[in-house]
Amino acid sequence: MTSSIIARVRQKRIEQLISLGKRLDERGLTDYREVQVEVGVIEKAEGSARVRLGKTEVLVGIKIELGAPFSDVPDKGVLTVNAELVPLASPTFEPGPPNENSIELARVVDRGIRESEAIDLEKLCIEPGKKVFIVFVDVYVLNYDGNLIDASALAALAALLNTKLFKYAVKEGEVQIKPGYKPLSIRNHPVAVTFAKINDKLVVDPGLEEEQVMEARLTMTIEKDGKICALQKGGAGYFKIQQILEAGKIARKKAAELRKLVVKK
């Protein structure tokens, strides 16, 4: 009971601040927390990146393996995104199979990459209908302090840009690994920007406490030319059309800023 009183006081405080255009950690409503990106942190993976968004910390590792294509797209490689909310990251994360939160996280990250056609999946086909490369994007949440989607999408993009593909030759239907690597061909750069609606106002990059009091959540993933390539509304509340259109404008600006942190000129 006491803790719920404290929670309500805290909620009031967050809402009051936001109505004044302020936030608990003194950010502006459309400011991101400090973003740190580090790539190549897992040498054994084909690609990897760690992103810190304030105290939220996500590691993405990329593995590339041989496998069979889907029967309805026999001439394309396969992209598989998985997210693990490992119990390291929060007292609320339980070990076990993916739950709806980790599935949603993985699928929103997946959608941004897939719909922006960031990976040239045609180039990952070795033998149509038989053998293709499978790109495994594993999102590993190490510390949870809110806004996992943006941190994960950014880490996934940074990791993909850092991914090397081994060279190979096909001899009599068998794939032979050859020495050396080439970078994985990445032709678009989707960046997710997430909004929380609190007290009917929009804030970007919600922290954990903000997530706990937000009415609803909206993620817009923006590709390199400013197009929207994925959307996801979450949470128990709703948005007005006007809010969504306003969010779109902010998202394009924010996505461009974040993109600079991972895409080298």
Partner: protein, 250 residues
Amino acid sequence: MSKKKVKKLINGKGIRYDGRKLNELRPIKLEVGVLDNADGSAYIEQGKNKILAAVYGPKEVHPKHLAMPDRSLLRCRYHMAPFSVEERKSPAPSRREKELSKVIREAFEPSVFTEYYPRTSIDIVIEVLQADGGTRCAGITAASLALADAGIPMRDLVSACAAGKVEGHLVLDVADLEDKQGEADVPVAYMPNLNAITLLQMDGMLTSEEFEQAINLAVEGCKQIYQLQKEALKAKYVEVKEAKKEDAEQ
């Protein structure tokens, strides 16, 4: 979105492969109160979509520790029958079905007065018997009627419809083939009286101008569907009244 163009979907006059105009809904059939055991139920046909929705509740929560002291626990299960799609689907819930169950539940959260029934649960079940594109939206449209049929108090009905981009045109109520070959699909759930968007997702790519048009188009679709929902409820209400009258007369 696969970009393989198998077939021309929109002709020079802006008519879609199934004869619809760009901003035209598919034929929709709605029926309320179709299942006997459920507290509320509804059936929708939209194009070749055939979807049943049922609501059980408010009822005791099982397992008990999930009960909430201040409101009802809203739960949702979106599920596709194994025979509803081209290639048989395993009946075990897929990741897609789990994600959709979550966003559909969140689409109803702003609608239901959950605070009226503390310590209970309200379970929404959506079963796709045949899928033809836009099943989440059609499922929401039906489930909203099932909630009404169950007598659950709501701020407004939730109506749902997708807009999309196909061969460069913005279109309303994206069908399966248009979804597979098209450039974007934007499912929207909407409460007309509150001007509230309660579900919003997108696959594909749209410029901000296209997106603004798409969302407005989808909302227009929702408003049309809202009228159909109200008619379906009225039909049911009249039917019940007449049945009662008959009972009284006998």
